[in-house]
């Protein structure tokens, strides 16, 4: 699989993963699949990469 990073939603604490090249450090808001809120990767309380 393409390189991924796991993020934690700062609002609902739900965990999901994103495409590293397209979305890590890109200042693009990620969409939490659980609560539908948007946030930047740097706002995530936990990132695993």
């Amino acid at each position: 699989m393409t390189k991924i990073f796991w993020v934690t939603c700062p609002y609902c604490k739900g965990e999901f993963y994103c495409h590293w090249q397209e979305l890590r450090h890109k200042k693009i808001e990620l969409l939490c699949p659980y609560c539908n809120r948007r946030f930047l990767d740097e706002e995530s309380p936990k990132i695993v990469e």
Binding site: M1, T2, K3, I4, F16, Y17, C18, H19, Q21, E22, L23, I28, E29, L30, L31, C32, P33, N36
Partner: protein
């Protein structure tokens, strides 16, 4: 903006089973198929009258419960809830492709022809082209109701949210695009995330539709796209043909369906872009040039989620459907996608491999490899080395294939147990396993450590010809013929025994 019911009944058209139109062309409709399914495999289709909410995982929860019990019927939900939380105007059909027997029936074959005969028949048809025929919109079932502009509303549909990490309901059927240079059409299964009443996120792998979109995007033009949401199952089996870029999928799908596809002008582009007239429902729209938004994660065919990505956006322009349209989805990441994807590949690979190793007996993509990554081949080996020839042909002929196991003709490759028995008893890993590094892989394979490249493996599980080899145990044939099970154990008792 319009919302109209405009199809006039045409006199003299037979409407039972396969329909012969006034022009003489046979049609294939989903409802004809469902009638046939009820007659031939009555236990395979379950009608559910209770209301269900597909967007709240109720449909996939039921499918998962059934899967946990190793049961794979097609489910027809009469009263699904739409994305507005209200009863949808359309029933929902689910899990139609989860058995090979139903796929055989879709190609007008007998259910018991579900193994190699089905794959070979698919391969035979895949070498043909049947030019589509054009009919006026007033005769096209899919134009019985047309909604465009603000009347086209995705939220009216019973779209399914599949797995826990999916951020929204997804339509996971086949977008069709038209090549701007060659004028041919391409159909492919692709995931589309419902993002608004008239907005979809579209994930495209770098294959044919992606190439078509790139051509438009380079000229800063939107790409017309028509998503065939529901149709006869042979349409979808046909859409999975592995023809090279440039072959018109409408002609190929017609050949696989066994009848020319009837086309009609789209609502959005008129005769410039034709759509399947006998579909249940079609969503038309434009893939916007230069626009990408976050989309996913989505539970993919591998059984894992594909990551959230930046993907294309579709602006919906129209929805057209039959007056009594059925809405369809496939249960991605489960048998519904696996079986559907494997059959088209088996037949074409069988023909390719048999051209190189004439004693090839069968080719099968087992469920354990998502009907894509693992390929089992049986050959009646006459010379050592044929095994590798067959395996290399499989790897070259289908880029999904990652692991090839070649067995002798005494092994039933539709039985995982038999194939693994051959691996256990006929393979020495240091002599019979080959690994090929740095080959183009699949970005959705979670085991892959490189973005693009993967490692492939060939396991030669055939008996060597160069040295004496042990014989397989066998109860004498004469004893088997003379000693009948029913003479010793009652048939009723036998029928009660569970298969293990």
């Amino acid at each position: 903006m319009k919302s109209a019911s405009k199809r006039k009944p045409a006199a003299g058209i037979v409407s039972i089973g396969r329909v012969a139109t006034q022009s003489g062309a046979e049609t294939r409709s989903l409802k004809d198929f469902l009638e046939r399914l009820k007659r031939r495999l009555p236990d395979d289709l379950i009608y559910i009258d209770s209301a269900v909410s597909p967007a709240e995982f109720e449909v996939t929860a039921l499918l998962q419960h059934l899967e946990n019990e190793k049961k794979f019927p097609a489910l027809f939900f009469a009263k699904p809830i739409n994305l507005k939380g209200k009863p949808a105007a359309f029933p929902l059909l689910s899990n139609l492709f989860a058995t090979r027997a139903r796929c055989a029936l879709a190609l007008e074959m007998e259910p018991d022809q579900e193994r190699l005969p089905l794959s070979l028949e698919y391969a035979r048809r895949e070498e043909l082209l049947l030019s589509p025929v054009t009919i006026p919109g007033r005769d096209a079932p899919v134009k019985e109701v047309t909604k465009s502009g603000s009347a086209a509303d995705l939220y009216e549909l019973p779209v399914v949210r599949h797995h826990a990490m999916d951020p929204a309901p997804y339509i996971d059927m086949t977008p069709v695009m038209k090549d701007p240079d060659g004028g041919f059409y391409n159909a492919a299964f692709m995931r589309t995330m419902v993002k608004g009443e008239r907005k979809l996120g579209l994930h495209m792998s770098p294959r044919h539709n992606w190439q078509i979109h790139r051509k438009h995007e380079e000229k800063k033009r939107p790409t017309p796209v028509a998503i065939v949401v529901s149709h006869h199952p042979a349409f979808y089996l046909g859409a999975l043909n592995v023809s090279p870029f440039g072959v018109d999928d409408y002609a190929r799908i017609g050949a696989i369906m066994g009848a020319p596809l009837r086309l009609t002008a789209s609502e959005t582009w008129g005769a410039e872009f034709m759509v399947p007239a006998d579909a249940e429902m079609i969503i038309e729209g434009h893939v916007l040039p230069g626009v990408k938004e976050v989309e996913g994660p989505f539970g993919e065919f591998t059984g894992y989620y594909g990551p959230q990505r930046l993907r294309n956006v579709v602006e919906v322009t129209a929805i057209t459907h039959r007056r009594d349209a059925v809405f369809q989805h496939i249960f991605t990441g489960h048998r519904d996608t696996w079986v559907l994807g494997g059959i088209p590949k088996e037949g074409s690979l069988f023909n390719l491999i048999r051209g190189i190793v004439p004693t090839t007996k069968a080719v099968h993509f087992p469920l354990s490899g998502c009907c894509r990554f693992n390929c089992y081949i049986s050959i009646d080996k006459k010379v050592d080395g044929e095994t590798k020839q067959a395996a290399l042909a499989a790897l070259g002929g289908c880029d999904f294939v990652k692991h090839v196991v070649v067995v002798d003709a005494d092994i039933d490759i539709y039985s995982e147990e038999e194939v693994m028995w051959a691996v256990a008893t006929r393979v020495q890993a240091d002599q019979d396993v080959d690994i090929i590094k740095n080959v183009k892989g699949n970005t959705l394979d979670p085991s892959q450590t490189d973005n693009i490249m993967t490692a492939k493996m060939i396991i030669d599980a055939t008996r060597p010809l160069q040295r004496p080899f042990a014989a397989r145990v066998e109860v004498p044939k004469a004893a088997m013929q003379k000693t009948r099970l029913e003479d010793f154990i009652a048939r009723a008792t036998l029928d009660r025994l569970k298969r293990s």
